[in-house]
Symmetry: none
Subunit: 317 residues, 2 copies
DNA sequence: AAACACATGTCTACCTTTTGTCAACATTTT
DNA sequence: AAAATGTTGACAAAAGGTAGACATGTGTTT
């Protein structure tokens, strides 16, 4: 029974991120949803109602006016939202060579609030901000426009010395937990291509690899996230054992050149036929190495979906 | 006889986290459960009653009103919760029909099933087992009698070479996520003593520190989990900044003697008045150092609550 | 450009229902 | 005797509801 009216006001506010006021006024003015009532006049919403309110919330966050979109059907809302998602922008950008990063004020303010929470070591607020961001802008934009920027900014501030090490640790830990819960274990169809995401030996920072795994998941891939610091042989072994279509590696530390290059070449040699995607803050330092070994360099997380679809399509030849 | 009524009020409050008052009023107003009575009118609950109360507790925490959900069946409650709890998301993809009350709820068998799941790289089953274990035996025993033994066993098998590195990584990652979720749920009362949990510089394995943090939380402490690999100065700084009543450190790698000892002594010198608890697989190797610096050695996680209560009580003098 | 109307989220005032907690007192268990 | 448990009634805070005002944009008209 997906359409039974069972959910109270509170649940709806939690799940949609809208306030009671807004929900009521949307009902009153635009008939956005039509909840049932208990015999004591409390509203009761269905799963579908919640879904619809969530869509409306996202659409309004993207700038559409509620009055205009309230009469639309759920499907119309979905296409409306997808047209403005960063992924769609990127794929369209292929046709028109003008990939202007859309000024995403919502995401920017969200990032700012998260950074504030980090600076004041308030992990509860940080978690809540992240959850709100997911509700407000969906998973893709959460990953590419909120969490990725946050981690970059934290990295910069760390190397500038603007951020205490303890803050950085706390933030990383909270974000690790948050991403872990998002990382629902692959519900992708059986035939979906498999991506192995991890970090080479000596590289302990795992957020990048987790982001890569999640991005691939929402691009429809099956992913295997293996945690950080995995020796080359193990990476290769896992990739073969699960017949992966690609391997994603995240590199954060620039130091340790010899070990890292060795590991990368080992992986490449063990997996000559499998595309290797390499990203992370320190990956830029290894651009020549990456090119030399025929791997792909992930310049931005937002570009990863495109790279993945290239891989799947080229496989057909 | 899984349905015999032989649990007293006290164990029910401990297992469910509900107060006596709440449990009674849920029974009176909503017939949430119907315990039997002793001949002297004391309530007696069954395992099923406890599970039901736990489900109700989780559902109310998610925003559902008790009056509406109290009439639901256990199965309905499960689906209600499973739809959207962060923990349940982890296993959602697994779409296996809900296991009909695990036949064997002893800690040993649970550990065994988890180890099997690890060996077959089945992260879905692993999380499901952990969730079931939490329901069946409560958070404390989950930590001390399931997860702690699992990690020890995994460590042993890793050093024996019985377990592939990839398996160990996958298991660690899944458990890390699981513990992280438990951790974020819990927020403590204002006046509670504060524990800072982390891992010294060079020590990257964080599960031990997370377990310590969670154990302290369920002993009523406020905890600050800082992630692994934190330099001594930062640990001391965080402890002072949050006026911690204790600091817990987890040590896994035996190597690196010089660095580790240096770090430990630095911490001790910076925090002369704050009790230091040190545990983890490699802590035994440092017993003499630990004694020398006046720190406390956590031989087993199960002993930690007692150590914590010693600290709080000795503070009154 | 100024004036105006409309759109929209937020807020206040005030009422009802729901729900957790508590006090007071009795009984049983340890 | 002290701790734990039970019953009852009362209470306060939380959650929900309606109605209407208000501030702020945004677009249209003059």
């Amino acid at each position: 029974m997906p359409n039974e009216k069972n959910y109270t006001m509170k649940v709806v506010t939690q799940r949609t991120g809208l306030t009671q006021h807004t929900i009521r006024v949307w009902e009153k003015r635009y008939d956005a949803v039509t909840p049932e009532r208990t015999h004591t006049n409390r509203r009761l919403y269905s799963e579908d109602d919640i879904e619809r309110l969530l869509l409306l919330h996202r659409a309004t966050t993207q700038g559409h006016s509620i009055g205009r979109i309230a009469p639309l059907s759920d499907d119309e809302l979905k296409t409306l939202i997808n047209e403005h998602s960063p992924l769609a922008v990127l794929t369209k950008a292929n046709a028109t060579p003008l990939p202007i990063t859309p000024p995403d004020t919502t995401a920017e303010s969200s990032v700012q609030r998260c950074l504030n929470a980090i600076a004041s070591m308030d992990s509860n607020t940080l978690t809540r901000e992240l959850m709100d961001a997911e509700i407000a802008m969906g998973r893709n934009r959460l990953l590419t426009s909120v969490i990725d920027p946050i981690m970059n900014r934290v990295g910069e501030m760390w190397s500038e010395g603007t951020l205490r090490v303890a803050d950085e640790h706390l933030a990383t830990s909270v974000i690790r937990t948050f991403l872990g819960t998002l990382h629902s274990n692959n519900r992708a169809p059986q035939g979906a291509p498999v991506l192995v995401a991890t970090t080479p030996a000596g590289q302990w920072h795992e957020i990048g690899a987790l982001l890569a795994s999640l991005t691939a998941q929402s691009a429809g891939w099956n992913t295997l996230y293996m945690g950080p610091n995995l020796p080359a042989e193990e990476i290769a072994g896992a990739a073969i054992a699960h017949s992966a279509s690609a391997v994603a590696l995240s590199i954060i530390y620039p130091g340790d050149d010899s070990l890292l290059s060795t590991e990368l070449f080992k992986i490449q040699r063990a997996l000559p036929a499998i595309p290797l995607l390499i990203g992370g803050r320190a990956a830029a330092h290894y651009k020549s190495t990456i090119n030399e070994m025929g791997a792909m360099y992930i310049e931005q997380l937002a570009l990863m979906p495109e790279m993945l679809s290239e891989i799947t399509s080229s496989n057909f030849y």
